[in-house]
Amino acid sequence: MTVHIAPARPTAPPAPPAPAVRRRLRPGRIGVHAFLMAVSLAFLAPLLLAVYASLRPYDETSAHGYFSLPRHLSLDYYRQAFSDSGMTKYFVNTMIIAVPGVLVTLFLASFVAFALARLKMRGGLVLLMLFTAGNLLPQQVIVTPLYVVFNRIPLPYWMSDSMTMFDSYWAVITVQIGFQLGFCVFVLANFMRTLPQEILEAAIVDGAGVWTRYWRITLPLCRPALAALGTLQFTWMYNDFLWALVFISDGDKLPITSALNNLRGQFFTDYNLLAAGSVIVALPTLVVFLLLQRHFIAGLTLGSSKG
């Protein structure tokens, strides 16, 4: 019976075309919103859960699970992370690595990019390939020889209290710079190609040297690209986990992302403390992202779309 009713429907008087289209689109729109909203909430949920778990004592979540109503909420774990686990110290360590790392990387990469994009040198393309390909290798390919070499490079005590490059910030900073150069050169060279060549030609007529053409003329025009790359690079160096894990053995020198691993106990792990640690580690990058979202996204897409 019902089978016969269904095909009978289309015989109903056809509605005028325009409203029909509208009526058909509406549910589609709502469907899209419902889908996007559901996905957004699903993407947000793990972060919110981490924040929620970090505010609750271990006894409570071990008895009732993370997905239960709160009885006590406190910032105790944050206090504990900062006072007992020395999060402040690890933050300072991260800054010691990331700030010089980002600045030197941007300086060196912008000059290479300038030379490649603006000076029309022979072999420029090979150099560009060398840098770009280098950035695409997995870290584990280079980590072993670097580990061996750093163990054999002596440094004076005032530079490293381990007397070698191993177990010093120098090792991590150098590797960060060397490894990130490739990406920055690639992005900045693409960006500089979009700048008008006439400005440089005018400068050459005025007798400007290479340094002036780079520092006074090209670099100021690259401010948006440098801001975008700086934001992105800072986040990447901040988030790095492997380099410090391999090249630093003294727990007190670890940057914050690698130090997070130390919050895990030898035999017993307080996951709520770990949640608080994760939130502390994630917070600066989230703040940077929310404040500088435009730069952040520009940095990633500069690399993918050619100016």
């Binding site: 899209v32 996007l36 996905v39 993407f43 947000l44 793990p46 972060l47 859960l49 981490a50 979540t61 071990s62 699970g65 993370y66 997905f67 239960s68 060196l108 000059f111 290479v112 840098f131 950035n135 695409l136 290798l137 997995p138 584990q140 390919v141 280079i142 980590v143 072993t144 020889p145 670097l146 580990y147 061996v148 150098t174 590797v175 710079i177 060397g178 490894f179 150069l181 490739g182 050169v185 190609r193 290479v210 340094w211 780079y214 988030n239 986990f241 492997l242 894990l245 391999v246 992302t257 770990l274 949640a275 994760s278 994630a282 989230l286 996204i297 990633l300 897409t301 993918s304 779309s305």
Partner: protein, 304 residues
Amino acid sequence: MSFISARRTGRRVSRRFTGRDLAVLGVLLGIPVLLDIAIVWGPTLASVVLSFTSWDGIGDIKWVGTQNYENLFTNYPQFWPAARHNLLWLAFLGLVAAPFGLLLAVLIDRGVRFSRFYQSTLYMPVVLSLAVVGFIAQLIFSRDQGALNAVIGDTKSPTDWLGDPNLNIWMVLLAAAWRHTGYVMILYLAGLKAVDPSLKEAAAIDGAGEAQTFFRIVFPTLRPVNVIVGVITVIESLRAFDIVYAVNHGRNGLELLSVLVTDNIIGEASRIGFGSAIAVVLLAVSLGFVVTYLVQELRGEKNR
């Protein structure tokens, strides 16, 4: 003739750069190039060489030929599971996370309201450290307290999502996809914004449906973005390390090639030669993709 013209251009070049210019170029090009060689290419070569030796990092370096590779392929039980997991990682990010990111980008690009909110939220996991992603995954998937088991409500025989060696890789892949999707979405969003709207209009006038327009017109123009997404996906899956290391140091069903390399050098055994052989396997796979990508780039460069 050609000799004379060559000399002439040579002279012009030297006149273009004064001595000071050459010094600036030498120092400021020299440092980054040396750094790139010292940090990236030198060690890469050294890894290849060391992979043919047996070395513990202290004693003499002994040449052993391909013995490390034979051991690796025949009697190192972790190797094949690790390689399989890396491939699974690639397949999951490439066939699930990346298309999902594209779908989200297409939906957001259609100009729905609140698109900025969706964009920011979906992109947020990308700024997190992979290690943090690994720790957060434990809050969700932990057996006794995890949110997932609480939602399912199975209290009698709770599933150990991260402890079961048959299941945990999938949970970790979900966590990795959480981060990868947003990355892919942003790249495609930028690509979609650059698509000439008149192309779509022309297709609509010719009577193409929405799906047809997308697959026949829009998607092919996104080729540069597709290449980038492909490269990023491959690199991410070969580099995968932090999440599994944060979860359980890459054991018990979560073995990855990167973890094996790290274990062999900073572990107690310190088998540098053997660790290098695993690294070379990683290198070989990634170079295959990198070279393909660079050839494409090179072609684009010539057309410029």
